[in-house]
């Protein structure tokens, strides 16, 4: 019980502080704070009609978060995840544009292709890191831009709509290859199923398998892991591959289940947001489910705010930003107090130290 309390303390305290700060902010701009919170709830999870909208955001977010759990476990910051989502969407779009056949097969192939594209894009920073000691954050940021540029190139170039070169996207995919939905206004049950399966898989992988155990050793102390005879480089690469696959699947879901075409901003920033989800979840896989849901609700509900209360919907961004700050603050305070153990990544954020694997 005590250990359990210890574990929820950081996220709970962070969320509480962020909410208090948000309320103060609302009062400062003379908006009714409780009414605003109610609208936030009502516009996301509080009404049946809004739930699919929230889930549309939740699925890519939780997929990306599950992937990031793996790279974080290996002690790395996969900032390139945003680009991996874009490449996944491109991989999926390529399949549904090129191949026609039974929907089941084409959609399956689209998922495989999306995952493969994500893996390839993720292995680039992986190789740069393990072979050339290029930090994955820098290569990741660069590759995000490159992936975005490739998407734009395809949309206004080879895959442009007949007669028009517009960045609004490609022609919609054949409706047969849209992800199946339940009901007219619903969101794809397949996407939700895939997301839940992915989270379950990662949770088992990290906690129950020899792979997860070794990956943890690599992430926490690659020097010791190497001396134990673990192939640290191979484990780092595999972590990138697993994360890239999930990011690619998130991109596939975005393309086939939401936009129904390839658009330039297909990743929707969910990759970056997922980093915050994982930080707030304290690197525990199952926790990403409710926390991603919370982030999705804030994101979706804030559009309601602008409609009903005339508050700018960027409030969602403000809340998210404050959450991150408070997580770092509370996490850092916690780490300083205990001076050991968990939250190594948070600690590395606060007090960066030179690290790196054995040469």
């Amino acid at each position: 019980m005590k250990a359990w309390l210890e574990r929820v303390r950081v996220p709970a305290l962070s969320i509480a502080l962020a909410l208090v700060a948000t309320l103060l902010l609302l009062i400062a701009v003379s908006a009714p704070p409780l009414e605003a919170l109610y609208q936030l709830w009502n516009g996301s999870l509080g009404r049946a009609a809004k739930i699919p909208d929230t889930l549309i955001t939740w699925v890519p977010l939780v997929l990306a978060a599950a992937g990031l759990i793996v790279t974080f476990q290996a002690g790395m910051w996969n900032i390139g995840i945003e680009g991996q989502i874009v490449m996944g969407a491109i991989g999926a779009a390529w399949v549904v544009r090129r191949i026609s056949g039974p929907a089941v097969i084409v959609i399956f192939l689209a998922f495989v292709s999306g995952a493969l594209f994500g893996i390839i894009w993720a292995l680039i920073p992986g190789f740069l890191r393990t072979r050339f000691r290029v930090h994955e954050i820098f290569s990741g940021v660069a590759l995000d831009f490159v992936a975005g540029a490739i998407a734009v190139f395809l949309i206004i170039g080879p895959w442009s709509r007949a007669g028009i070169a517009s960045t609004s996207g490609t022609d919609p995919f054949d409706t047969r290859y849209w992800l199946p939905t339940a009901g007219a206004n619903g969101y794809s049950w397949l996407a939700i199923l895939v997301a839940l399966l992915a989270v379950a898989m990662i949770a088992v992988l990290m906690r129950g398998t020899r792979y997860g155990l070794r990956l943890k050793a690599v992430g926490k102390n690659s020097e010791s892991a190497y001396l134990m005879g673990i192939r640290t480089d191979a484990f780092m690469l595999s972590a990138f591959a697993v994360c890239g696959a999930l990011a690619g699947i998130a991109g596939t879901v975005q393309a086939l289940g939401f936009h129904h075409k390839l658009v330039p901003s297909v990743s929707g920033g969910y990759g970056f947001l997922a980093i915050l989800v994982v930080l707030l979840a304290g690197f525990r896989t199952v926790w990403t489910i409710p926390i991603a849901l919370f982030f999705s609700a804030v994101l979706v509900g804030s559009t309601q705010l602008s409609l009903r209360l005339d508050i700018d919907s960027s409030l969602a961004g403000v809340i998210q930003g404050m959450l991150v700050l408070f997580i770092l603050l509370v996490g850092g305070w916690q780490a300083r107090r205990t001076r050991r153990g968990g939250g190594a990544v948070i600690e590395s954020l606060i007090a960066p130290k030179s690290g790196g694997g054995p040469d």
Binding site: G208, T209, K216, K220, N221, L227, R340, G341, A344
Partner: protein
């Protein structure tokens, strides 16, 4: 001018790095600070240069009690430190390095700086070019640059921490000349070293430290005997030594040359037999670690060959050495052995050799519990590595060793351990030896080296300075050898 350190205390956790240190130094004195690694010299100098704050005690310069909270405070008070690795920004020019950290003005006066640098260079015979990039300078020249900079900033007390590591003999002579000159001009120079010869050659007076305390101050001329005795203390060697039964040659090195970042070990030939214990003596950084890492495949030799039980392992990787029965336990138990944040159960599972995809955690917890009991580890199956004491971390590391080891390589097997744990460690190691494992260990503890080794290889400046039979060597002789003095054993 006079500098006094009065009753300086500095604790790190339970470790008393400085335990009531008092030293007085007069103007114009070249003062040596001598002691083994871990004696507390560096801590004391960091306190004096403002890098760390003492728990208690005073630093008094010219009757002013100084309040040193940062290196900036120290240099303002006139205390400058030359670090072992000179703090030079390699991509900067010599002049930019010189100006860096200069007196706080918004505008950088390059002309004035260049003039000051020129003046210092002429006065002391520095040889560098102000426009050159710092990375083109030798380590010796970087030191000169640092000295010039510290003098310009008004240093009246100059601290040098092991300044002769990594510089040539001629540069060392040059450095000594500069230091003598500075002391003639009335500066206080504090020279930190563990090399007896240099202290004897250079210093007017020396303070010897051991285990965080001052053992004594003596004036030149020094007798080496006295310095060695003060440095290492009286070493009592137990009379009976367990007899070793040597088997066939396990490890054979032939004319090995291997280098890492700081040290190069050259032309090393050596054989170690099954069931033999070879001790590696020498001050830290003299090449023992480089040697051990070559024997584990972590460093690939530039020249020469390595054979283990007749198999050529030259140029093979670490994992091949591991498979051939080599096991390496480095000094950093928590840095290069265990994983902080992981439990004892997880550690045992990591090295269990089991192959199944899923981990049977119930089974793992059971084996961990029995392994913990077998090795008398004070901790539970859920204790994390960093929560264990040093002795229990070492017990865990030994418990994690594979059953079959041909060659065991260790650094400081008992450093920081209480007597009970140390005895236990050696009981385990000797049992391994008796079953035919060849053991090579590096240690700074003369007693440990003499008590458990069959032979001792003494390292000095990257070469094996001497190989002696432990049974016929006295602690004094070994102390001489470690300090780089030839003796006949």
């Amino acid at each position: 001018m006079a500098l006094s350190l009065r009753d300086i205390h500095k604790h790190f956790g339970a470790v008393r790095a400085n335990d009531g240190i008092s030293i007085d130094v007069e103007a114009g004195e070249l003062h040596g600070l001598l002691g083994e690694n871990g004696a507390g010299k560096s801590t004391l100098m960091k306190v004096l240069s403002g890098f760390i704050e003492a728990d208690s005690g005073e630093v008094v310069l010219d009757d002013n009690t100084l309040n040193l909270k940062s290196p900036d405070d120290a240099i303002k008070a006139g205390i400058g430190m030359l670090h072992q690795d000179p703090l030079v920004f390699l991509p900067f020019t010599v002049l930019d390095n010189f100006l860096l950290g200069g007196p706080g003005k918004v505008r950088l006066d390059r002309k004035e700086g260049a003039k000051a640098l020129q003046a210092a260079a002429e006065r002391y015979g520095f040889t560098f070019d102000p426009a050159a990039l710092a990375q083109s300078l030798t380590v010796g020249e970087r030191q000169q640059l640092e000295i010039a900079r510290l003098l310009w900033l008004g240093a009246r007390v100059l601290i040098l921490d092991e300044p002769t590591t990594g510089i040539s003999a001629s540069q060392r002579e040059k450095l000594f000349e500069i230091l003598r000159r500075l002391s003639d001009e009335g500066m206080i120079v504090i020279f930190v070293s563990h090399k007896l010869e240099e202290i004897e050659q250079l210093c007017h007076r020396v303070t010897v430290m051991r285990r965080g305390q001052v053992i004594g101050h003596i004036k030149a001329p020094f007798t080496t005997d006295r310095l060695v005795e003060m440095m290492f203390g009286e070493v009592v060697v137990a009379g009976e030594r367990p007899a070793a039964t040597l088997g066939a040659t396990a490890l054979s090195l032939d004319q090995l040359t291997v280098r890492d970042r700081l040290t190069t070990v050259t032309d090393l030939s050596m054989q170690v037999a099954e069931g033999e214990v070879l001790g590696l003596a020498g001050l830290e950084g003299s090449g023992q670690r480089t040697f051990l890492q070559a024997c584990t495949g972590l460093l690939r030799p530039d020249q020469g060959t390595i054979h283990l039980n007749g198999t050529d392992l030259t140029g093979k990787g670490y994992r091949t050495f591991l498979r051939s029965g080599v096991h390496y336990l480095p000094a950093g138990r928590l840095e290069e052995g265990l994983v902080a944040g992981m439990t004892i159960t997880e550690h045992f599972e990591l090295v269990s050799g089991r192959k199944s995809f899923f981990v049977d955690w119930d089974n793992a917890a059971d084996t961990a519990t029995s392994d913990i009991a077998d090795h008398f580890i004070k901790g539970t199956k859920d204790s994390t590595a960093e929560s264990l004491s040093g002795g229990n971390q070492q017990r865990l590391l030994l418990a994690m060793m594979p059953d079959e080891i041909e060659l065991l390589l260790m650094e400081h097997p008992t450093r920081g351990l209480d007597i009970e744990s140390a005895d236990w460690v050696w009981t385990q190691l000797l049992a391994r030896r008796d079953s035919g494992t060849a053991i090579i260990f590096a240690s700074a503890d003369l007693d440990e080296l003499l008590r458990y080794s069959d032979r001792i290889a003494v390292f000095f400046n990257g070469t094996v300075f001497a190989v002696v039979d432990a049974a016929t060597t006295t602690p004094d002789q070994l102390g001489y050898l470690i300090g780089g003095k030839k003796v006949t054993v």
